[in-house]
């Protein structure tokens, strides 16, 4: 594991930013599909929305990167804080009966990790442009956090996952 602080060029930074968003989009799409398959339409819809946000951001990064030659990094070579990208979330936090509130909490945690990742870069990168860009990105992620938290309040506090009264299916 390497440190975000070491991100030193704009190209490197943008590669990270793009991967962060792209991975987030892929993950949300996957989760939305899974929820869809398991008939939790509400949460599926939320995840799709999150994916849509991610796509927009990825497009922004792409615009910023236009013309520059971004480095190609292997998934494990990125300088995330943890082993995984900040905005992917943990598979284990997903449940097919999760409520919209829980889905939003999952998303908030993701956004917070992104915010913190950018924050670290913003305060420590040796490169000023990078620091500045990261600062903006961090700000943006912080806004997402606030937005999502507002949604959560609106949705109420229903966080208890209901029992599936039916037994699991045996499929074979």
């Amino acid at each position: 594991m390497t440190n975000p602080q070491e991100i030193a060029t704009k190209a490197e930074f943008l590669a990270h930013a793009f991967a962060l968003e792209q991975e987030s989009v892929d993950r949300y799409e996957e989760l939305a599909d899974a929820m869809d398959t398991h008939n939790n339409m509400e949460v599926a819809g939320l995840f799709r929305k999150m994916a849509e946000f991610g796509r927009k951001h990825a497009a922004e990064v792409e615009r910023l990167a236009a013309g520059s030659d971004l480095p190609t990094l292997e998934p494990w070579d990125f300088k995330w804080v943890e082993d995984e990208g900040p905005e992917t979330g943990d598979y284990a936090d997903i449940d097919y009966m999760m409520t919209p509130v829980q889905a939003l909490q999952f998303a908030v945690a993701n956004e917070k990790r992104s915010r913190d990742f950018y924050g670290l870069v913003a305060s420590h990168s040796p490169n000023k442009t990078v620091r500045q860009l990261a600062g903006e990105f961090s700000q943006e992620e912080a806004e997402h956090v606030t937005l999502l938290e507002r949604w959560i309040t609106r949705h109420g506090s229903d966080t208890a996952i209901q029992d599936d009264l039916d037994p699991p299916n045996i499929v074979d």
Binding site: E30, A34, D69, I170, V171
Partner: protein
Amino acid sequence: MNPLPGKSQPKDYKSDVKPVWCPGCGDFGVLNAITKALASLRLPPEQVALISGIGCSSRVPAYTNVYGFHGIHGRALALGAGLKAARPDLHVVVAGGDGDGFSIGGNHFLHACRRNMDMTYIVMDNEVYGMTKGQASPTTAPDWTESELTPSGTHARPFQPAAIALAAGATFIARAFSGKPNLLAQMMVLAMQHPGFAFIQVLSPCPTFRPEQKEWKNIVRPFAVDALPTSDPALAALHCQRDDGMSTGVIYVEARPVWRRSNMQEIAIEDIEQEFRL
């Protein structure tokens, strides 16, 4: 964005078939890692074959964009071996569950390790039979009493995949966690690049029948041993025996000649027919 031409984004290796897996299932992480590894290796999808048996985990081939064979329970390694022997040009990856690979398929596992064909074997180990509703698998702890089939536990020592792979002769042995797809992908790349039989045991939680496995993310950690990976089987055996099964990393790598078909001088069938003449 991606400067390389052709298919090299992870999602290019995904199919449009939606997994039936329970949301939260560790197998999603494995699928994720497989696509990342294939993308990293820039392998054209048509040159990869993903072979599996039966079980939740064994559903994985259809969710990828490579050639797949969803075979029968326990026989994936045999099917993969036949394919690799007949088509050495293909990259053969075999995947499945702990029940599929270590219970009904245990014999093929032993002999695949011995044979050391150039292929990769990924076992999604959730210490349970997910697909058939939560019975104990060979890797289940003997005192697990949640299955009605073994109401007082299995009374059998858990199967130790890495130790057995080692004793049987696998030349690349690793353990990983599905909750870290990036690390898993990296390990898969090493495994696929390894010339010979590469085995990865992936701890892959089943939240449906083993909800306590959600805790795994807090328990797994890298092997705290500098010596690993090693090419000394005795040392590897030592660390396998001492570990609680929750340490991850590449354990053993050996350079042993890879199985290859014998190349004899080619002749025509007409020549063979000569032997029957009086």
